[in-house]
Point group: C2
Chain length 320, copies 2
């Protein structure tokens, strides 16, 4: 059997991170968290594991880390609650599972996987999804587990200003996601999020919507982050695949077109990570920064936070 150049990329959200607030100590915290999440996924691929297992492992690690807006550390909606969304998709089989508006689930990505593997459905939401979680014995956590003081402060500020927003000016911020190609040539994508601070009760963003925030087929795997409503309006993740398939564009050209043309033209902000069936990786974003990391077979891990408008690494991105 041909062995593919397995690789994995992860993100921890994109937005207008302020450089001046990112001191060396805080930067190190993020880098360590990204590095740890990347390692667990890469180790799976190195050991012959599937892309599906790798993206679940990396996303679970990011969900467990309170620095990111998913699982523990999720933002608060307009009612001061957590409502989390997640999706997972396997490229070759087109199997996909997603959950929306779930509370108290430690790892929403595990629940999304259970929907994919144990139901006839793709997307379950709200209390019906939570009931299914109990049936599947998916781990729950008490409300206090998800509470982060900084998130609550951001929520109170957003509420006072009557704004729905990404975590713009905090030290912490962002949806999480992972994409991977395994040694057998299979692709998978996973995304998990707490959504937007002060979002309306019942709002579902792009993350759990296959084709918008999450997508995988036999060509590429994609996970997006940013102002979700705009990603939906350009069906960002699946559009990338269409540009490759029908427009005969490379992964990187397609990824840039989605972010710097389709998304930007309608005023959307954010970024995406994508990997194709040959092991190329692209991570464009039109915001000041995107927490991101990647590693390909036989290469060193790469971690970045800020970047140029073209999505390239700037000098302050570093190889570790």
């Amino acid at each position: 059997m041909k062995t593919h150049n397995y690789c994995i990329a992860i993100h921890g959200g994109a937005g207008t991170l302020l450089r001046e607030k990112m001191d060396a100590r805080l930067r190190k915290k993020y880098e360590n968290a990204l590095s740890a999440a990347l390692d667990v996924g890469y180790a799976m691929l190195e050991g012959g594991g599937s892309a599906l297992d790798a993206v679940v492992a990396s996303v679970s690690a990011l969900e467990d880390c309170p620095l990111f807006n998913a699982g523990r550390g999720s933002v608060f909606n307009a009612r001061g609650e957590h409502e989390m969304d997640a999706a997972i998709m396997e490229g070759s089989s087109r199997r996909v599972g997603a959950v929306a508006l779930v509370r108290r689930i430690r790892n929403p990505i595990h629940l999304a996987r259970a929907v994919m593997e144990h139901t006839d459905h793709v997307l379950l939401a709200g209390k019906g999804a939570e009931r299914f979680a109990r049936k599947m014995k998916i781990e729950r956590k008490p409300k206090a587990y998800f509470f982060e003081a900084l998130r609550y402060k951001q929520f109170l500020e957003a509420k006072r200003e009557n704004k729905v927003r990404l975590d713009h000016d905090g030290g912490t911020f962002g949806t999480v996601g992972a994409v991977a190609l395994d040694a057998s040539g299979k692709l998978a994508a996973a995304t998990s999020t707490g959504g937007m601070t002060n979002k309306r009760w019942g709002r579902i963003g792009d993350s759990p919507i296959p084709g918008a925030g999450t997508w995988a087929d036999d060509r590429c795997a994609v996970s997006c982050t940013g102002t979700g409503e705009y990603f939906i309006r350009v069906h960002a993740a699946a559009q990338l695949s269409c540009l490759m398939r029908y427009g005969r564009q490379s992964l990187d050209a397609a990824a840039r077109k989605v972010i710097f043309e389709s998304l930007q033209d309608i005023g959307g902000e954010g970024g995406l990570i994508a990997v194709d069936h040959r092991g190329h990786i692209s991570m464009p974003f039109n915001t000041e920064g995107m927490y991101r990391a990647s590693r390909c077979r036989g290469e060193a891990a790469w971690i970045g936070i800020f970047g140029g408008e073209n999505g390239d690494a700037l000098p302050n991105d570093q190889r570790i």
Copy 2:
């Protein structure tokens, strides 16, 4: 200003309608309902109204008709309840609004439009969406309004057999939708559904997912019906647009490719209606029938129920 060849197409669902159960009297009932829904939308276009107003008018009429699985006459989920989904999208602006898992709303398509016009969000679900409906003074109806004895019988049968299904063998069946091009050249699409009989509590299908069951951009407007999970897995509605935009295919070639290749290859069943910016209409389906009707500027209305595998009208389809 150039006046476009305005036109509208509607559907009332696709599935394995059994010809032997469709006697002349029942057929007439469906034709009358389709004709009435088509007329209200066409009249709007004829009077210079927008594509958006036309699809809302037609879909509302179909929601109000208990023959179809949307609004009044929606199917029952696994808990014996109604949970309705709907979406609306305007092509030129890419504005889109959707609701999922809403109960007691007479016209879910009106609520989807309110989400589009009065929130920063695209998709609201469950109790959060219902609360928004109250705030917007969207018309509610008591539970009894939605109850149809035949639907309940189908539900009890499906529950006994432990099956999730479309309304396969009943006289009544199907999601509803409309697509239109108006005289100013704008496109719009709308879809509304009660989902699948005996579906799991909290299941969201393709209808309210932009790109899957509903889509509109400056190229085409699309509304799908069938086994929703499969439409999601091929991002059916937006794929059609991609095939036109990047694959340079005609509307009809693209629509057929989505249904007879992408959808069919993974075992999906159903159909779609689509209109492009030049006023072409395509209505392919791979099931035995699809309730459908269309009318273009200066032409007579066209209504069909059964059809050939290629989606063409068969002799028993008729011009009225």
